[in-house]
Symmetry: C2
Subunit: 324 residues, 2 copies
């Protein structure tokens, strides 16, 4: 972790990891093995961290939301396990995807198993009214995620779909769940409705910032760091925000170039170089980076008036320094 | 419906259908369209019926558990939508499967969308403590379902896996959720723990009976009625209970014949005829039919001492007359 993040409570990571392992079992059958393989080594554990820190921000204790937070991570990890079946992407976080390691049928069931393990974990807390309300927030976010993923399948290869369509997909696929993770943590810690809503907003703009940064990664750092092929956006023919911004402000020559790349008519290495050229030339990279920074500013503003927000503020700041 | 079932409250079906349509939306986007296509025309709506009738059996009202009951149906329908991706089965209930009509990626998301719509519906009831307890029962059943489906992938083509392995899969894939549907209905209607447990047991043995009857369908009625190809068990190389019973009591010649069929070395029409011959010769069909009847007897026994069980008793009886 970079300097700002290192000031956040590192003990949360092993706590969350231990809880995740407790939730899905010790690998006694194929379902547990596939779930453990999908969960570990863990990623950044952003959603459980957001859930726990949101509870703390309104005076709650980490321990009392830990199981719920780990449950959200299970739901979150289930999505890419299923996405990799759809995208036929053999890599995830620098290693073989669950579909690649266990097979399509098994990955499908591992994703379902992570969903259900997540719900079992989330629903086993108390008091009942708060657990139920927090669970409702997460269920609605998950449904919005499905809707956005389905919407995404309809705009594949469509460079003229416009940035608002992509923004809607980004919000649904990423920001809604990070928002719900914060909101749920706040609700579980008996936050006022106003504080819970402020934390939901914080989580949503932070999620948007992180998604924008992920979209920029293929054009800013080496793929070894991202763990995904830098050219996977091209391979998936999925227009991202920087690509759409470039398309909107490109001249006819560059539009034709982008269209060729997204129709798969260019070899991958050349496609990536062409994309990078057009995105730099049109200022799309700089503009998208600016948008991520605006989101971080909004995230910090959402924290105004909350009791104890130091760690959440650090978390927001650290997103513009590096990917989380 | 056959005579016994016609005495059960037919008004439950349109009520449940209307609630399902309300839950998943009116088809305004691709997710809603795919979910509606998977749900309608509905099947037997067994799980919502069990949930509602279990609530009534302990003095509850249908209206107060309707949304929860419809939510369970969404979860239930999600599983075959995903299963058909795994099995590459183009047919479901006599028409094209969701995967066949909408594509693999879209079917995957439709299944996820049905799961999440189900959870949204189930979690939006009151009072919180009962909704939470009922939801826990359903979440645990769903997790058991995933575990069993994964287990099933490991016994594919394995005729020597033994009937206890298959029984465990049947219980996990079918009976656990029918049991939880009954248990949840009872909990929502403020049943005593003893009554909720009795209704869970009723639902489990009823689910087992229905699964056994489904396993027998390819050998007892024409595939036009089942809506699935009679030979799909063979095509999927999935040993069912009657097949395993036949294998256990078959002589060497018949065992070799079953093995050839399950290794896909026989053309489908001949495979089905060979299977039917061996299953009849070994008495496996008669024995399996007897087991289904035993389950119905157990289901009726589980109802002893409950306040109002006429409809649940009818439902149990009707399973041995025809498939539900």
């Amino acid at each position: 972790m970079a300097a700002p993040a290192s000031q956040s409570p590192l003990t949360l990571i092993p706590l969350s990891e231990a809880e995740l392992a407790r939730l899905v079992g010790s690998g006694e059958d194929l379902l547990e093995l596939a779930c453990l393989d999908a969960l570990f080594p863990t990623g950044k554990l952003l959603r459980p961290t957001l859930c726990i820190e949101s509870a703390r921000a309104v005076g709650g204790r980490a321990e009392s939301v830990l199981s719920f937070a780990a449950g959200i991570e299970c739901l979150h990890v289930a999505s890419p396990v299923h996405d990799d079946i759809v995208d036929q992407d053999p890599m995830r976080r620098g290693r073989a995807s669950t579909a690649e390691r266990f097979g399509i049928a098994e990955a499908l069931l591992a994703g379902d198993g992570l969903y259900t393990a997540g719900w079992v974990a989330m629903l086993h807390g108390s008091p009942a009214d708060r657990v139920l309300q927090a669970s409702q927030a997460v269920a609605e976010a998950m449904h919005a995620m499905c809707r956005s993923s389905m919407h995404e399948t309809t705009i594949r290869e469509d460079l003229s779909c416009g940035r608002s369509a992509v923004l809607k997909v980004i919000r649904g696929k990423t920001a809604t769940l990070t928002g719900a993770a914060c909101q749920a943590g706040a609700i579980l810690a008996a936050a006022t409705p106003g504080h819970a809503e402020a934390l939901r907003q914080y989580g949503e703009v932070l999620g948007t910032a992180l998604q924008i940064r992920d979209d920029l990664l293929p054009y800013t750092v080496h793929e070894r760091i991202t763990g995904k092929h830098a050219i996977s956006d091209v391979a998936n023919r999925q227009p991202t925000r920087p690509v759409l911004l470039a398309y909107e402000s490109a001249d006819d020559h560059d539009r034709r170039l982008l269209t060729r790349v997204f129709h798969g008519d260019t070899d991958p290495t050349r496609a990536h170089r062409d994309l990078l050229d057009v995105l730099t030339r049109t200022g799309a990279i700089a503009e998208t980076t600016g948008q991520a920074q605006d989101c971080v500013t909004q995230a910090r503003a959402a924290l105004d008036g909350l009791p104890s927000t130091e760690r959440l503020a650090q978390l927001a700041d650290s997103t513009v320094d590096r990917h989380h």
